[in-house]
């Protein structure tokens, strides 16, 4: 348009002032830099986890229990075998408790409770649970299962605390998915003369399965990383145990106690344990994402 004089440019009257243009550039630049800043900690954390964590990974890390000895070289402080197995056991039990209950409540909310006042109350309390700090879940379980029974820490108590923490996530994510099941599907099942429970078990649940699995997996991933609810429910211990009635070690608690009593060797182990934990959580997350791609809803 350079060939044309300003008077014949039909856009001359509408030209964007340089101040506006500058403001636009500055705003965009600021937004972009803030976005990049947000990624800096992520890069640093991943780098340090890999750098320090991989350096501490060894076969003995995964095959030995911590010795409780923190003052000598890494050969004598032991590994994180009991912590890995403990986390697996506790999270497995927590899932076994929270998934059926959570999905049951979600099915009730969607299929039976719907917009009733009772259903709203339940939803409200579930939302309240979502916001409860995880350490408070630990306190709840402590009061009921430790003060209440006059006994001490045990793996299953930690699992109950985690289950409580997973419950609202499982319920609300399953509810979201169940609501998405088209009403026409339900109606066609009912029109065939199927009783409501048949309709739910053979039409609604299979349709919503992938979505519910995604929600459940993300709940598991979150529970696996929790430290606070386990501190005074499952306790901290050294030995590998398959008895959920006893003290049970777990990765987050192991890392926490390693951080709070640091010698170089123990810190070294903490990084190895942290990398292990993050890898486990990421695998679960990844599976959740893959499953959600296969979801038949939305």
């Amino acid at each position: 348009m350079s060939a044309r004089g300003a008077t014949t440019d039909p856009l001359a009257r509408f030209a964007v002032s340089s101040a506006r243009r500058r403001r636009d550039r500055i705003a965009r630049g600021t937004i972009l830099s803030a976005t990049l800043i947000a990624l800096v900690p992520l890069v640093l954390i991943i780098y340090y986890l890999l750098h320090r964590g991989l350096g501490s990974w060894s076969s003995s890390l995964f095959t030995t229990d911590p010795t409780g000895n923190t003052f000598f070289k890494s050969s004598s402080i032991g590994g994180i075998k009991s912590a890995i197995l403990g986390t697996l056991e506790i999270v497995a039990l927590a899932s076994a408790i929270s998934i059926p209950i959570g999905i049951g409540v979600a099915v009730w909310l969607v299929e039976y409770g719907r917009a009733s006042r009772f259903a709203h109350t339940v939803r409200f309390f579930v939302d309240v649970l979502t916001g409860v700090p995880s350490i408070v879940f630990g306190l709840f379980i402590y009061i009921v299962l430790i003060v209440g029974t006059g006994s001490t820490y045990a793996g299953y108590k930690g699992a109950f605390a985690l289950a409580l923490l997973m419950l609202p996530v499982v319920i609300r994510s399953a509810e979201v998915v169940l609501v998405l099941v088209p009403a026409a599907l339900r109606e066609s099942a009912l029109a065939l003369g199927a009783p409501r429970w048949r309709m739910i078990s053979s039409v609604v649940l299979p349709t919503a399965l992938a979505g519910m699995v995604t929600g459940v997996l993300l709940a598991i991933a979150r529970a696996a990383g929790e430290t606070a609810p386990l501190l005074f429910t499952a306790g901290a211990t050294l030995k590998t145990s398959s008895n959920l009635g006893q003290f049970m070690n777990s990765l987050p608690v192991q890392i926490y106690s390693d951080v709070t009593s640091p010698t170089t060797a123990v810190e070294h182990r903490a990084w190895g344990a942290a990398l292990t934990l993050v890898v486990m959580i990421l695998i679960v997350n990844l599976i959740a994402r893959l499953v959600s791609r296969r979801s038949r809803l939305a």
Binding site: M1, A3, R4, T8, R13, R20
Partner: protein
């Protein structure tokens, strides 16, 4: 989107004189002016209207093609919208009429993976030219959408002032312009006592006129209307149509409609599109009573669409 422009053509068009320079004897740079007949004879016949009002600019599409990803939605359209005329674009759903007007103010490219080729000449400027600022294009070519879309968080006043605020320094200057825009949109009498109330509280028809006022406030040369009455009742529709007739004395108007009666009522010229191609364009009366193309005839007589 064509990177090369023929400068010869620019010179050509400019040599015909520019409306801005010859205020009183505006004329269309179109090669073969047809008598501006149609549903509203007289109203677009230049003369008096042009003396009182600044004429709008012409818009000429040259081999305009539009794509969504790999799908070609417009397959090379040549069409001119003359100043101070209302041109209606009709055609069955999916024929590309909305895409066409969204290409004129380059709104089409806001859709991910969408692009356009060819030229859109605003007067003698290709709005797809390499040095053209899309922001200025959209200010010169206003748009009214299918559903009324006032900004829900803003008052009636702020809605109309929204475009002005982008460039204005002080709020004090805005009031007369806002009032003028609301008057032009025929809304002033209905809202002058509640300018501070939310625009979303108006009826659908009022909201659409508010949106028209919002476009008018920045004093555009051209207004594109994408089925502006499709969400409105008949009375609100009538008001908008009256408004269009008023506005064309100073603004070039392009209106997409699927309602053939509406095209017959408001448009000086009508273009019929099918499958991304322009089938026929001409004075509205002719298109509806004596179309040249069989497909146009079938469409306007309701055989398909």
């Amino acid at each position: 989107m064509t990177p090369t422009r023929s400068s010869a053509r620019v010179a050509d068009v400019s040599s015909e004189g520019h409306p801005r320079l010859g205020r009183h004897d505006w004329r269309s740079p179109a090669p073969a002016p047809e008598p501006p007949a149609g549903a509203r004879p007289g109203s677009a016949s230049g003369g008096d209207a042009a003396v009182e009002n600044r004429p709008g600019l012409s818009v000429r599409l040259e081999q305009l093609r539009a794509f969504y990803g790999d799908a070609e939605q417009l397959r090379g359209v040549d069409l001119e919208f003359r100043p101070n005329e209302v041109t209606a674009i009709i055609g069955p759903s999916g024929c590309g009429k909305s895409t066409l007007i969204r290409c004129i103010n380059r709104m089409h490219e806001e859709i991910p993976n969408a692009r356009a080729e060819g030229r859109v000449m605003l007067d003698d400027l290709d709005v797809y030219g390499p040095s053209v600022d899309v922001v200025a294009v959209r200010r010169a070519i206003g748009m009214v959408f299918q559903r009324p879309n006032p900004f829900p968080t803003m008052s009636i006043f702020d809605n109309v002032a929204a475009g002005l605020r982008l460039t204005a320094r002080r709020n004090g200057d805005l009031r007369p312009k806002v009032e003028a825009a609301l008057r032009s949109a025929g809304l002033w009498g209905e809202v002058s006592d509640r300018l501070g109330k939310p625009g979303a509280g108006l009826s659908g028809g009022q909201q659409q006129r508010l949106c028209i006022a919002r476009s008018l406030a920045v004093d555009p040369e051209v207004i594109l209307m994408d089925e502006p009455c499709s969400a409105l009742d008949p009375i609100a529709t009538l008001k908008i149509e009256e408004l269009i007739a008023d506005l064309k004395t100073r603004i070039t108007i392009v209106i997409v409609t699927h309602n053939m009666q509406q095209a017959a009522r408001v448009a000086d010229r009508t273009a019929f599109m099918l499958d991304g191609r322009l089938i026929e364009v001409g004075p509205t009366q002719e298109i509806f009573t004596n179309p040249a193309d069989l497909r146009t005839e079938e469409y306007v007589t309701g055989k398909f669409g």
